[in-house]
């Protein structure tokens, strides 16, 4: 967790996933160009060995699609994925299946991601049985050893997933992902379906397992508190594009990109005396269907200049912020503004709820 200077484990280069929209007869006759949803657009980032990289962004920003791309559950439209320096973008068939032991995924939905017809030992051992020629007894033995590590009793091998609570199911998911000893685990909102107390338990377990096994995590979440607690670095996605990436502490205390500033200002602070940040943005999230050129955040950005509307900002290092990459034309000017002093373009909310 601490040796962040380790070599890159997984590297994506300008990876993109476009989902084509169906072509209607009228489109075809009118020769309208094909349209597609640009769920992930030109994202380049690196997951280092042994670190937790958090991926945050609002709903529909492409976090989950990116996680699925990394786990090779979606075919990327363009770009490359490298794992330990080896290009794995176009692996297929048995080579792909064999590679899958390196990257496992914990799905967002703890109910739907466990086959209701299978027993616990069959669910948890699925990667083992797909990858290793083990006999049934040996497989059960391994599962029984694994379950206590995720905080489940080892005598529930023959139970069905519906007999577990939400937290228990998420632990089963986690046990399944860990059963084959992967190097990278994609955690797709591992705690968002759980209540706060169970969230804390599961997060503790995740952090503990990472220490014991030297795992790397790609932690997909929309919860800033989770990021602060569990992650080493954080990447911010907006409408399918990576807009800022850097160390957690630095990004959370001094965000550079205007969207990151707005995102963090929107996090509620559990202190009634503290005045809420005035920085607000208005407007809607732009469409993902054939987006226009220029910065995707330009229509909502309080710092927008003409250049933002015509030229795509590239992800680039910013001088004052070490180990940070930001996609903003005005990163240097905007980055140094302290978040408290920002006045946004939207209406400021009332400081207190109106008393009736």
């Amino acid at each position: 967790m601490t040796d962040a200077a380790c070599e890159p484990l997984l590297e994506t280069t300008s990876i993109a996933k476009y989902f084509p929209l169906p072509v209607s007869a009228r489109d075809w006759l009118g020769r309208t160009p094909a349209r597609s949803i640009h769920a992930v657009d030109q994202v380049s980032l690196t997951v280092r060995s042994g670190e937790t990289l958090a991926l945050i962004g609002e709903s529909g920003s492409g976090k989950t699609t990116f996680g699925w791309l990394v786990a090779r559950l979606h075919e990327p439209t363009q770009g490359t994925i490298r794992f330990r320096g080896q290009d794995v973008t176009h692996l297929s068939g048995s080579a792909l299946r064999a590679w899958r032991r390196n990257v496992q995924i914990v799905f967002q939905d703890p109910v739907g991601s466990l086959d209701p017809r299978l027993r616990v030992w069959q669910i948890v051992s699925e990667p083992i049985r797909a990858q290793l020629p083990l006999r049934r007894a040996a497989v059960r033995e391994r599962v029984a050893e694994l379950l206590p590590q995720v905080g489940l009793p080892s005598d529930c091998l023959d139970q069905y997933p519906h007999e577990f609570s939400g937290g228990g199911r998420q632990r089963l998911s986690l046990a399944r992902a860990l059963s084959i000893n992967p190097s990278l685990v994609v955690l797709d909102e591992p705690t968002s379906a759980l209540d706060v107390a169970v969230q804390a338990q599961v997060l503790n377990r995740l952090v503990g397992l990472q220490r014991e096994r030297g795992l790397s995590y790609l932690l997909i979440t929309h919860n800033v508190a989770t990021v602060r607690y569990a992650a080493d670095r954080v990447a911010v996605l907006y409408v399918g594009q990576l807009i800022e990436i850097g160390p957690v502490r630095a990004v959370l205390t001094q965000p550079v990109h205007p969207y990151t500033k707005a995102l963090l200002a929107a996090v509620p602070v559990p202190d009634p005396k503290r005045r809420r940040a005035r920085y607000r943005i208005s407007g809607e999230v732009p469409t993902l269907i054939n987006p226009k050129p220029g910065c995707r955040f330009a229509p909502r950005c309080p710092f927008v200049i003409e250049r933002c509307r015509v030229e795509d900002p590239l992800l680039r290092p910013v001088a004052e912020f070490p180990d940070r990459l930001v996609a903003c034309h005005r990163a240097e000017e905007v980055g140094s503004i302290p978040p408290e002093t920002l006045i946004g373009s939207g209406p400021a909310p009332p400081d207190r709820p109106p008393s009736n």
């Binding site: 699925w68 786990a71 090779r72 559950l73 299946r97 064999a98 899958r100 032991r101 496992q104 995924i105 799905f107 967002q108 939905d109 739907g112 991601s113 466990l114 086959d115 209701p116 017809r117 299978l118 027993r119 699925e126 990667p127 797909a130 990858q131 290793l132 083990l134 033995e141 029984a144 050893e145 206590p148 995720v150 905080g151 489940l152 009793p153 080892s154 005598d155 529930c156 091998l157 023959d158 139970q159 069905y160 007999e163 577990f164 937290g167 228990g168 632990r171 998911s173 399944r176 084959i180 706060v196 804390a200 338990q201 997060l203 503790n204 377990r205 503990g208 508190a225 989770t226 602060r228």
Partner: protein
């Protein structure tokens, strides 16, 4: 493969759990059958259907193996008084040539059950197989998508025809006999299974656990066999069981209308053909029509009740609930207890 220390040596796993775990293996096997039976018995109607189907099946096998168990030979004439109503010697009465209706109805049992199971079974295998192909393998712009499209359009073609009319037409074209009717009914029957199975496959294949299996490195073929088949089985088996009764009715209808089964000149005896033969005696000798009709009715009813019971039986969720309601509660899972969390490093109890 890597060596594993015995689980009792590992920290956090008390030695006692090991014997408990091995004990639960044996318990799990015996428990499955016992819970299944208990769950079936909680619903008395479906249990009655189950008992009837078992009795009919056993009787059909016995009669098929040894027709001498029948009180009188099937189709034999002058077995007793002519045109007689039900008596102890002839429970279903006799017809005007002294054929024993009870023996004839019983001798039709293997034929009708066999026809029902074989037509529904063949449709299940053929139509269901095509349904899995059409539902699971439909990646756009691939050869499999073309195959799926072909299967579905062919299915639509068959479904667009009224199935009874189509079956009648095919029977007439193929000629008399049991086999032509079986073939005709099958040809109109399989498309429903394509639709049913494809729909179920479509619902299952986008479930996250399918993606999870793929991420685990499971082959597509194993995903279909292990996850897809298993999860569509419940509605398909239920439909299949209900369908056996419907097939028997349809077959009897076709036999009734076309006269394809030559009752009473030669075997096999079949209920629909019996009813067709005795239809004009419905006023004078009503028992000759009522009892074959009753046989069809009770058989269809038995399969319907069993089908409803199977729906509850095949779903592990409802099975466990009925088992809990009817018997002792299983031991608590302890899934919610943060046992392993307590005191595990500096992070224990730290909220994010």
């Amino acid at each position: 493969m890597e060596p594993h220390p015995p689980s009792s040596d590992r920290p956090g796993v008390p030695g006692g759990t090991r014997s408990g775990r091995m004990g639960s293996v044996a318990r799990g096997v015996g428990r499955g059958a016992a819970t299944a039976f208990r769950s079936l018995r909680t619903n008395s109607l479906s249990f009655a259907g189950f008992v009837l189907v078992v009795i009919f099946s056993v009787a059909a096998v016995v009669i098929w193996a040894d027709p001498a168990v029948l009180p009188y030979p099937a189709l034999a004439i002058f077995t007793g008084p002519l045109s007689q109503g039900p008596t102890w010697l002839h429970p279903f009465g006799t017809d005007e040539l002294g054929r024993d209706i009870f023996s004839n109805v019983l001798s039709a049992l293997p034929t009708d059950l066999g026809i029902g199971v074989s037509i529904a079974g063949a449709s299940l295998l053929f139509g269901g197989g095509l349904g899995i192909l059409a539902g699971y393998y439909d990646r756009p712009r691939s050869l499999s998508a073309v195959a799926s499209m072909t299967i579905l359009r062919l299915t639509d073609l068959f479904l667009a025809f009224p199935s009874l009319i189509l079956a009648l037409a095919i029977t007439v074209a193929l000629g008399r006999g049991v086999l032509p009717i079986v073939l005709a009914v099958f040809l109109t029957w399989w498309p429903y299974y394509v639709r049913l199975v494809r729909g179920e496959v479509l619902a299952v294949k986008n479930q996250p656990y399918i993606a999870a299996a793929r991420a685990a490195g499971v082959t597509e073929r194993r995903i279909v066999l292990r996850h897809v088949l298993r999860n569509i089985l419940e509605p398909v088996i239920v439909y299949f069981t209900l369908d056996i009764g419907t097939v028997i009715v349809t077959f009897s209808t076709v036999a009734f209308v076309t006269g394809g089964v030559p009752y009473p000149t030669s075997p096999p005896v079949e209920w629909g053909a019996m009813i067709a033969f005795y239809a004009d005696r419905v006023n004078s000798l009503p028992w000759t029509v009522i009892f074959p009709g009753l046989a069809i009715f009770v058989t269809v009813l038995a399969f319907s009740l069993l089908g409803d019971g199977l729906r509850d039986l095949l779903d592990p969720r409802s099975r466990r609930i009925t088992a809990q309601a009817g018997a002792a509660l299983p031991p608590p899972t302890g899934a919610e207890l943060p046992t392993a969390e307590a005191g595990s490093g500096p992070h224990a109890g730290v909220a994010p």
